[in-house]
Structure formats: structure tokens, C-alpha cells
């Protein structure tokens, strides 16, 4: 038991060493962490509440006010502080993104492991399902699904609808990735040996396969989360979010439909988009770096610059 712990600690240290040297990964981590902090500590980071309207001396709402000391990012069409909306919106956007991402990861891993491990008709069936799902254009499908589900008056909150729909449509890339990994692992000796000594399927999957694919799952999930956040923002922009719990996408919907653009209120439509880019970029950088560390790329191709191939020091240079 002790050896496992020492080995784990050493792996973690190596990982941290590699990770620390990678600038992109650090930038990604920074972006994600700051967004997380902003979301979690939202109430402490703003003196207003999200629905509070800032009023001027006469009690009228201060609509479309440019950034000022009172409101660092100005106000929206109703006079509410944009900065407050932004950080509270972070909670919604990121929650939906993370949850949808986890559903996609879970379904994708389940399908991927099952398809890869059991093979045969199960594999065929699952992969054909993936193929079918991939061909259907994603946004129109999601729009009609969400629109219908909401109309069905099933007493599910709009956000839950979004989470479910996104999660259940974006598992395909994970499934394929996991499946091909499982196929490679399955080839290896120890699986055959485990079967020979009578180990059951679950046991093999849990002890031999899962530990090996876990890092890959994690890297892939980070990327899926970033996609989920982007998709949610799009759907919310089209009005399919929850107006009472505005995400960044919903904010942009408000900005657009309430003429922030024509009114030149850039402080209203710029920040939410920037926030989306912020967290998506962060997740992508993180995910890419993780993936890169797991599947390190080759060092060079065959057509690189050959100017330095012959580097014979000129005679008269200091000898060793």
C-alpha cells in the first residue's frame, strides 16, 4: 500500500514538473481558476445584487450608463450593474457547462468502454449510433429538442433542459476516443491473462482498463466542457436559456434584442462575450496541454530546416 502511495506521489511530482514548464497550460489554468473564483465568490466581488437597479438622484433607473466609478462595466438596459450580471452569470454559464460536460463524459465513456471492450455487434451498434448522431446538424436538432421539451410543461427548469440536451448530444467524440484507447489496451497481454484466471468483465474494466484511460478521460472532459459552455451561450442567445437566471449567453440575448448595439453600449455586449472566450480558451489550453502530455507529439517531420545539420566549428575555434 505504501509503495502505491510513493509511486503516486512521484507521478504527481513529475506531472507537476512537466506541467509547470508548459506556458500554455499555465495560462489555461490561470484563466479557468480566475473564472471559478469569480463565480464562487460573486457576492463578495460586487456590492450590488444582480437584479438591483441603480438609480440616479431622481430615482430613475440609470439605463445604458457607461463605465464609471459606481459601475465599472456600466449598466444594462434596465439600469442593472453589468459587472454584477457578469460574475453571477459566470455561475450559470459554468454550471451548465460543467454539468453538461460531465454528462457527455459519462455517457461517452460508458459507450466507449462498452464498445471497445465487448466488440462485436455491440460495438457496431454503438458506433453506427455515433455516426448517425454526428451527421445530423447539431444546432437545429438542439433547438427543436429544447423548444419541444420546454413546451411540454414537464416542470423541468429551462437550465436543466439545456444541460440534458447538450450532454446527450456531445458524447460522441469522447466515445470514439475512449473506444480506440480501450481497443489498444485490450490487445495487451494482461487482459488475456486476467480472463484466463477467470476475472469477470467488471473487474477487468475497473482494475486494468479504467486506470489507464482515466487521464485521457480527464483531458477530454475539459475540452468537452469548453464546448458545452460555448453551446449553452449560443442557445441562450437564441432565447432558450432562463431569463430569471441569466448566463452570459442570456446577457448577450438581452444586449442584442434590447438594442445595446444601436445604442453603442459596448460595455454591455463586449464583456459577456469576452468572458465566454476567457473560460473557453482556458479550458481548451488546459485540455490541449493535458492531452499533449499524455500523447506527446513527435519531435519533428522530415522536411524541417536543414541549415544546421552540418555544424562543424571552424578551425582555430577553441578545442576541448
Amino acid at each position: 500500500m505504501n509503495e502505491h502511495w510513493t509511486l503516486f506521489k512521484r507521478n504527481l511530482q513529475n506531472f507537476w514538473g512537466d506541467f509547470r514548464g508548459n506556458r500554455m497550460g499555465l495560462i489555461g489554468a490561470f484563466l479557468v481558476l480566475t473564472a471559478l473564483i469569480a463565480a464562487v465568490f460573486a457576492p463578495s466581488l460586487s456590492r450590488y445584487s444582480p437584479s438591483e437597479v441603480i438609480r440616479d438622484e431622481n430615482g430613475r433607473g440609470l439605463t445604458f450608463a457607461p463605465p464609471s466609478v459606481h459601475a465599472p462595466l456600466g449598466t444594462d438596459d434596465a439600469g442593472r450593474d453589468v459587472w454584477t450580471q457578469l460574475i453571477y452569470g459566470a455561475r450559470i454559464s459554468m454550471t451548465v457547462g460543467f454539468l453538461a460536460g460531465f454528462i457527455a463524459m459519462f455517457v461517452g465513456s460508458l459507450f466507449g468502454i462498452t464498445a471497445g471492450y465487448f466488440g462485436g455487434w455491440v460495438d457496431n451498434l454503438l458506433m453506427r449510433t455515433t455516426d448517425v448522431l454526428l451527421v445530423i446538424p447539431d444546432l437545429p436538432l438542439m433547438i427543436v429538442l429544447v423548444a419541444t421539451l420546454r413546451q411540454m410543461q414537464l416542470k423541468i427548469s429551462p437550465l436543466t433542459v439545456l444541460i440534458l440536451v447538450i450532454g446527450l448530444l456531445y458524447w460522441t467524440s469522447t466515445a470514439r476516443l475512449i473506444r480506440s484507447q480501450v481497443l489498444t489496451i485490450k490487445e495487451r497481454q494482461f487482459v488475456a491473462r486476467a480472463r484466463a484466471i477467470g476475472a469477470g468483465h467488471f473487474h477487468i474494466i475497473r482494475k486494468h482498463i479504467l486506470p489507464q484511460i482515466m487521464p485521457l478521460i480527464v483531458a477530454n472532459t475539459v475540452l468537452i466542457i469548453s464546448t458545452a459552455i460555448l453551446v449553452e451561450s449560443g442557445l441562450a442567445f437564441l432565447g432558450l436559456g432562463d431569463p430569471t437566471q441569466p448566463s452570459w449567453g442570456t446577457m448577450l440575448n438581452f444586449a442584442f434584442s434590447r438594442n445595446a448595439v444601436t445604442n453603442g453600449a459596448w460595455w454591455f455586449y463586449l464583456p459577456p462575450g469576452l468572458a465566454i472566450v476567457w473560460i473557453s480558451l482556458g479550458c481548451v489550453l488546459l485540455g490541449n496541454v493535458l492531452e499533449e502530455m499524455l500523447n506527446p507529439r513527435l519531435t519533428g517531420h522530415n522536411l524541417e530546416d536543414e541549415r544546421h545539420m552540418v555544424s562543424i566549428p571552424a578551425p582555430g575555434a577553441s578545442s576541448d
Partner: protein
């Protein structure tokens, strides 16, 4: 050797810059000659520098490779002073190469016949119709039916692809052919055919061949001279007779011992898959080389001097039969090699 050698390597040093910044000294002070029409074998374990030597001569090293010293004389001219443009002129016309693992060396979306004849047109040696005839000749020479010239590589078997590579390498009638492990990754019967083919071609065309292999049986079949490499340096160098019958370097001796079937010919089934695992220990890491002899940790004849001082190449012709026999070992008596 009375004639001027075709190819003359002198004190070649090659480094690789590893991803973590360390320098791997892949070749150090490598010297040997190739005469016109001669077949020379480069032997050694994986990683000893055989392939690197070939790639350095043709200047096809990967992007992290650096030739840091030495000279590569071809017909008297030092190719290391050539610009890339001059190199391109020499490539395939004067010297060509058959890479290890012919599986991927052919472009999968281009017809085999086109690939064989490509270099002829590239170097403007013939016009299209002449080139086509030459391709047919070449395919016939290696035993591939002409009718298959318009097929794609995936339609060829492994042995046929290897033979197509040979045909392709001969397209511009080079004087020198480099063959990197031409028989590895082929099954035994095909190996024999390919070796026969190489011998035949050599006799017919008078080519010089530098054959890289880890298989001493192959070398025994085909080579006039042998260069035994270890850890990036030349351990022993001489003609086939000297190397096989009077090996001077302990490494060569151990190598030969691990090939008990060398007395049998290829027809009797020798030469297959005889790896060198029987020498205990592992080759040195090229990033952390010892100050003394690189073989010393695994050597059964080592003395104290061996771990302190790297041996230079000694001319041992006085001991063995004939001239031109060199070994890099402190145990050998003789003058230093005059390279």
C-alpha cells in the same frame, strides 16, 4: 587498397540534441573507406550508429541531428562542404538508399512505376518514354512483372515492395547503394531472395554497397569488408576474412560467438533472427558516455586502463593476415591507425 576509394569517411562526429536539451553523441571519430564495386557491412546492435552513419553521408538526418566534425570524401570531394543544392544534385544519381522497413517508404497514393521512374525525370537523365523503358528494365531486374507497374504499393506484398525499393534505388545508376537493414521485417524465404538479388545486382552493375545490419549471417553472405560499430564508435574494421577468422576486438569476438550457425550458408537456414541478446548488459546511453572504452562495462577481457582511457583505433595488420585491419582496443598491439 590500391585504388582511390569511392567513399572515404574520416573522423565523423555526429550529435543529436534531445528534447530535454541533453546532447547524445551518436557518432564519434568514425572512419572507413568504400572502394568502387566493394560491398561493406556496417554491423552492430541497435543504436550503435549504423543508420546515423548512412543518414549523415546523405545529409538526411532528422532536424535535431548535427554533424559536428569530420569529412566525407566522395571521389575526393568533401561532401560536408556542399550546399544543400549540391547535395540534391548528388542524391540518387551518385548514391541512393534503401530505408529500413520498406512498408512506408513508398507513397501510398502514387503508382509504383511512377515512383520508380520519378528520380530519372527529376534529374533530367532521360525523357518520359526512355524513362518508361528504363522502369520496365528495372522492374524486370528485380523480378517484378512489368504488368504491375501501374499498381499501388498496398497491392504489393512485403517482399515485392522491398524489391520495388531496390529497383527505385537503381533508377539513376548510382555508383553507391546504401541498404539499411534490407532483410529485417521480411520472412526467411524472402530474406534469402532479396540477398540473392543484391549479390546479383552488385555483380551485374558493379555497384558499391554499404549494407547496414545487425545480422552477422547476412554480412557473411554478401560483404567484402566489415565495420563493427559499438556505442557510436568503430570497434573493429577489416575484410570479411580478418573479421570472421581473427577478430581482435572483444566485442567482435562475443558477437561471433553468439552466431554459432555462421558456418552454415543461407541455403541451410542461417541468418534468421539471430539477435545479439546473449551479451549481458546493455549498450551505453549516448547522453552519458564514459571517459574510457564504451564497451568496458560488458567486456570480458577488460583491464584497468580500459575504464580510464578511450582506446584509439590500432592497426593490427601485423598480427592478422593482410593489411587494412584495425581494432580499437587497449589489448591490441600495433601502431595507431593512420586515418
Amino acid at each position: 587498397m590500391t585504388e582511390t576509394p569511392l567513399l572515404s569517411i574520416r573522423h565523423l562526429d555526429v550529435n543529436f540534441i534531445m528534447p530535454d536539451g541533453q546532447t547524445a553523441r551518436a557518432l564519434e571519430d568514425v572512419s572507413f573507406d568504400v572502394s568502387p564495386g566493394q560491398t561493406i557491412g556496417l554491423v552492430g546492435e541497435s543504436g550503435c550508429g549504423k543508420t546515423t552513419t548512412l543518414m549523415s553521408i546523405m545529409r538526411l538526418l532528422p532536424s535535431n541531428g548535427r554533424i559536428t566534425g569530420g569529412q566525407v570524401f566522395y571521389n575526393g570531394l568533401d561532401m560536408l562542404t556542399f550546399s544543400e543544392r549540391q547535395m540534391r544534385d548528388y542524391r540518387w544519381k551518385e548514391m541512393s538508399i534503401i530505408f529500413q522497413g520498406a512498408m512506408n517508404a513508398l507513397n501510398p497514393v502514387m503508382k509504383v512505376g511512377d515512383q520508380v521512374g520519378e528520380a530519372i525525370l527529376l534529374h533530367n537523365l532521360m525523357d518520359q518514354s526512355q524513362a518508361n523503358r528504363r522502369v520496365d528494365e528495372l522492374l524486370e531486374l528485380v523480378g517484378i512483372p512489368k504488368s504491375r507497374r501501374d499498381q499501388y504499393p498496398h497491392q504489393y506484398s512485403g517482399g515485392m515492395r522491398q524489391r520495388a525499393m531496390i529497383a527505385m534505388a537503381l533508377a539513376c545508376a548510382p555508383s553507391l547503394l546504401f541498404a539499411d537493414e534490407p532483410t529485417t521485417a521480411l520472412d526467411v524465404m524472402i530474406q534469402a531472395q532479396v540477398l540473392e538479388l543484391l549479390k546479383e545486382i552488385q555483380q551485374k552493375l558493379g555497384l558499391a554497397i554499404v549494407l547496414v545490419t545487425h545480422d552477422l549471417g547476412v554480412v557473411a553472405e554478401v560483404c567484402d569488408s566489415v565495420v563493427v560499430m559499438y556505442g557510436g564508435k568503430v570497434a573493429e574494421y577489416g575484410n570479411a576474412d580478418q573479421i570472421y577468422n581473427q577478430p581482435q576486438h572483444p566485442y567482435t569476438q562475443r558477437l561471433l560467438e553468439s552466431f554459432p550457425d555462421l558456418n552454415r550458408t543461407v541455403d541451410q537456414g542461417a541468418g534468421s533472427d539471430q539477435t545479439l541478446a546473449s551479451i549481458p548488459g546493455t549498450p551505453p546511453r549516448l547522453t552519458e558516455l564514459p571517459a574510457g572504452c564504451r564497451f568496458e562495462p560488458r567486456c570480458h577481457l577488460r583491464i584497468e586502463r580500459c575504464s580510464q582511457e578511450a582506446p584509439k583505433l590500432i592497426d593490427v595488420s601485423a598480427i592478422t593476415a593482410g593489411k587494412g585491419h584495425f581494432a580499437a582496443c587497449h589489448l591490441c598491439q600495433g601502431p595507431e591507425a593512420a586515418f
